[in-house]
């Protein structure tokens, strides 16, 4: 069950307030030597940033943060510079102002002071605090830890090149037992797209085994000219690979971390937004016309991350440090949206206020028409694939709150270390909330497979303003779906012709255009061939995405599939024999159901009293259905999917011949469950079935 957002925030604010009180008991409060002077300034060092915290001054409009380079004796070695402006819209609590200062060369030593301003009138500076900042992570004398990226060794003058990335990646792979680097695909220009698979003590051996650990995935760099997040990913991969910190060991003992540093290697090399064909890849994750996006979607199907982040940079100089946005498309299941919002507003806003970073809703301040519901954007595609996730932006420029970023290296370092903070927080969130994320995902998949509720071809859920104080001023636009993009009466399935399914296409890179069949397979949707037609039923986990690609009304669709409505609803008594394609919705069947060879049975919201027998069927896909009596499915050729069924009686899957995994997800079986001799072993998508009887054969652990 989702926590109430306002309660969560109230609790965390209370906690933060009491912690502050504990840290600085009244007797230790520093007295202000002058009126309106900032007191109790502290500095805390972390990777690439320093968190300044202080006691607020009554009536202050904002605060200025000053930094001065100093030597070991505290003697200044350079000019004092205003590096930060703290404004009240930075954080969700005002009692404990914090500011993450970043941009400096990690390892250098500084003195900081903070002063309040009343309007523009400067008040006295605090007593200074001094500290040595944290050097780039990893002991230079320990193998593996000593690795550095090109970005680090060049002091951010250069980004890590493709060849340097491959060398660094290979070295981590070689030196760490925790890491396996896999190539998930190639770019248009044949650059490898690598993924770090990181677990402790070693990562699980196969994608299915990784999937069983409910992994967290980070897509670091889709736009080639937005490279800040990628450098953070490369540094984090080294930390995860070699750190002996108990936190890291604990994280990696409970899940697997998937990091794709560069999905758009061609665009990165040319410093372009799109790939080498000019395609913006973050407008292609549903259509997967390009090999880069197809590789990512294929990875998601195989490794099944349950949570994700997607790294970008953002040109709005008035935005916060870290604009974030959940999957908003209205076809995304509510629990996925809610959990994603909780990750952003419950976790990131709270932690940002502690560490001094400024996450905010995408748009943040005068953001314009961005952050909408296009399913082509990874944030939305992943949501429609039941992955809790967020977009991450790094504000491109220093803006008004970080006035010392005219120097490019300072600017790059702030961006990369703010991304590193976010990704580490993302892993902490995943670790702390794994049961809630898994439950939300299970509820979402059950909802989608039930094929209930309207379909929206384009349009977003509202992102209401966070309760005051807001981190940032404006949430993204409402982006409600227009009436002509709403379908209240969802079909049961889409029917595609041979030409639509297997026909040659022109939308993609020359010489490498894939068919609709290949793209549907990459998404992992079940397809049933009956006669000359290919049926894609909606009672499957990605029900929200299927119509966007297969319906003629889809704004950026793949084909104009034919809507197929239920063939049987309401009560029916007597034996039912299925030949051809049968779709039962909201039906009550009393009597035995037999699916003939080559036929297909699809059900939702249905009650069947009587046995269900399918022998040699093309497809059997049942969801949100009650069966009293045995369910026996054998010799199926194309697709099997049993989701959220309640069966009173035995369930038996044997000798099925599908080339894709039969789904047995979240069912309740009051009886035995047996699976034997199926060409492809069934999967539960890491959502347990409740079985009162024995489980046998290929279903023994489902």
């Amino acid at each position: 069950m989702r926590r109430q957002r306002t309660i969560l925030i109230a609790l965390s604010t209370l906690l933060a307030a009491s912690l502050t009180t504990l840290a600085t008991p009244a007797s230790a409060q520093e007295a202000a030597a002058e009126p309106n002077q900032v007191t109790n300034l502290t500095v805390r060092q972390a990777d690439g940033y320093a968190t300044l915290a202080w006691q607020p001054v009554d009536g202050a409009t904002d605060y200025q943060i000053e930094r001065t380079p100093v030597d070991a004796n505290g003697t200044p070695t350079g000019a004092a510079t205003i590096v930060g402006i703290w404004r009240p819209n930075r954080q969700i609590n005002q009692e404990s102002p914090t500011f993450a200062d970043a941009g400096f060369n990690p390892g250098d030593r500084f003195q900081w002071r903070v002063r309040a301003r009343f309007d523009t009138t400067e008040q006295p500076y605090s007593t200074p605090v001094t500290g040595t900042t944290t050097a780039p992570w990893g002991n230079p004398n320990v193998a593996g830890e000593q690795l550095r990226t090109q970005w680090e060794t060049s002091h951010a003058a250069q980004y890590t090149s493709d060849t340097e990335e491959y060398a660094y990646t290979a070295a981590i792979d070689e030196l760490s037992d925790r890491v396996r680097v896999v190539e998930i695909g190639r770019t248009v220009k044949d650059r490898p797209i690598n993924m770090f698979v990181i677990g402790y003590p070693t990562p699980p051996a196969t994608p299915e085994a990784v999937a069983a650990t409910s992994p967290a995935a980070i897509n670091c760099n889709v736009h080639g000219n937005e490279p800040g997040d990628r450098e953070a990913c490369l540094i984090m991969a080294r930390q995860l690979a070699f750190s002996t910190d108990p936190r890291v060991i604990d994280l990696l003992s409970h899940t697997t971390v998937l990091i794709v540093p560069t999905i758009n290697g061609d665009g990165r090399a040319a410093n372009t937004r799109g790939n080498s064909t000019g395609q913006d890849l973050n407008r292609d994750y549903s259509l997967i016309r390009q090999p880069e996006t197809a590789a990512y979607v294929n990875m998601v199907r195989q490794y099944r991350p349950i949570a994700g982040y997607d790294g970008h940079e953002y040109g709005n100089s008035r935005a916060g440090d870290l604009p974030m946005l959940p999957p908003r498309h209205q076809n995304v299941a509510q629990p996925i949206f809610d959990e994603s919002m909780d990750m952003i507003e419950g976790h990131m806003y709270t932690k940002g206020a502690e560490d001094g970073w400024w996450p905010c809703p995408y748009g943040c301040d005068g953001g314009g028409s961005v952050g909408l519901g296009e399913e082509t954007i990874l944030r939305n595609t992943l949501g429609l694939k039941n992955v809790v996730n967020s977009l991450l932006e790094l504000r491109s420029s220093g803006g008004q709150t970080r006035p010392d970023e005219g120097n490019t290296a300072n600017n790059r370092r702030r961006k990369t270390f703010s991304a590193l903070w976010t990704f580490q927080q993302f892993l902490d969130y995943h670790r702390a909330n794994l049961p809630a994320i898994k439950q939300g995902r299970a509820e979402a998949i059950a909802f989608q497979a039930s094929n209930t509720g309207r379909l929206v071809f384009r349009g977003s859920r509202p992102i209401p303003a966070h309760p005051a104080p807001h981190p940032g001023s404006s949430p993204p636009p409402i982006d409600a779906p227009p009436a002509d993009l709403i379908l209240d009466n969802a079909p049961c399935a889409y029917r595609l012709t041979e030409e639509q399914y297997h026909g040659a296409r022109t939308d993609g890179p020359t010489g490498a255009v894939t068919t609709a069949a290949e793209r549907i397979a990459d998404h992992g949707w079940k397809v049933i061939k009956v006669g000359d037609s290919y049926y894609v039923p909606l009672n499957q986990p990605e029900r929200g995405l299927i119509p966007l690609l297969l319906d003629g009304q889809g704004v950026e669709n793949l084909v104009d599939g034919e809507r197929i409505y239920p063939t049987l609803t309401g009560p029916r008594t007597g034996p039912l024999t299925v030949t051809g394609f049968a779709c039962l919705d909201d039906a009550t069947i009393t009597g035995p159901v037999t699916v003939r060879s080559g036929a297909a049975l699809v059900t939702t919201g249905t009650t069947i009293t009587g046995p269900v027998n399918a022998s040699g069927a093309a497809g059997v896909m049942l969801a949100d259905t009650k069966v009293t009596g045995p369910v026996r499915v054998s010799g199926t050729t194309d697709a099997i999917s049993l989701i959220d069924l309640t069966v009173t009686g035995p369930v038996d899957l044997s000798a099925n011949r599908t080339d894709n995994q039969p789904l047995l997800v979240g069912n309740t079986v009051n009886g035995p469950l047996a699976c034997a001799g199926n060409t492809t072993a069934p999967t539960n998508l890491t959502i347990d079935n409740t079985v009162t009887g024995p489980r046998a054969g290929q279903c023994a652990t489902l």
Binding site: A157, A270, Y314, G315, V370
Partner: protein
């Protein structure tokens, strides 16, 4: 090519640095090592303070001994121009005869082209990209002082630019100011400018609010 004009102090400084270049480059193969000579290559302009200096990686003295392609990769505000020059394929034919680059900063490109327009130039309109890049190249190696003294310069796209000097600022084509000039690389001079040259229309606007 010769430049029979009177010298003023700025130019003398640049020439002094150039004269010492041979000594300097012989010792600075590793960018992470401090220079073994106190003399640094002389760059000038308001943006220079934001670029690697002293003994930082990518400092001007180190770059003076590098091929122009390498030097550009060390200049953090030239990522767009560097990629454009590389993608255009023009450099190999030019660099052994000496070349001067009027290199627009990343900010200059961002205020000139939308992402979509830029991606189309980089991926689909190769001829247009080459013409655009040529509008920023001048045959031979020329200091800012020399260019200003000449008063005009012919770029490789065939256009003639006026070059004016107001105070310390050198301006090209009545619109592009040198913001950090007189970087040296092997047989090359690099002047960072704040506006994109050439006749292509400006269509930036969408770039600001998209991640």
């Amino acid at each position: 090519m010769s430049y029979p004009r009177t010298r003023h102090p700025r130019r003398a400084g640049a020439l002094l640095a150039a004269a010492l270049l041979l000594t300097v480059t012989a010792c600075t193969g590793d960018p992470h090592q401090p220079d073994t000579t106190p003399v640094a290559a002389q760059i000038s302009g308001p943006l220079c303070a934001a670029l690697p200096a002293g003994d930082e990686p990518g400092n001007p003295t180190y770059l003076a001994g590098q091929p122009v392609a390498t030097a550009l990769q060390w200049m953090p505000t030239l990522t767009t121009f560097e990629a454009a020059l590389r993608t255009s394929g023009l450099l190999p034919d030019l660099e052994h005869d000496g070349i001067t680059l009027l290199a627009p900063s990343d900010d200059a490109f961002a205020t000139k082209f939308s992402d979509d327009t830029w991606d189309a130039l980089m991926t689909k309109d190769q001829d247009k990209l080459r013409t655009l890049v040529k509008a920023h190249l001048i045959a031979g190696t020329h200091t800012l002082d020399e260019l200003a003294d000449d008063g005009t310069a012919t770029t490789l796209d065939g256009a003639t630019l006026t070059v004016t000097r107001t105070g310390d600022t050198t301006r090209f084509g009545d619109k592009a100011d040198a913001v950090c000039g007189d970087y040296q690389a092997t047989r090359a001079r690099i002047h960072i400018i704040n506006t994109v040259l050439g006749p292509l229309p400006t269509d930036a606007g969408g770039r600001d609010h998209r991640g």
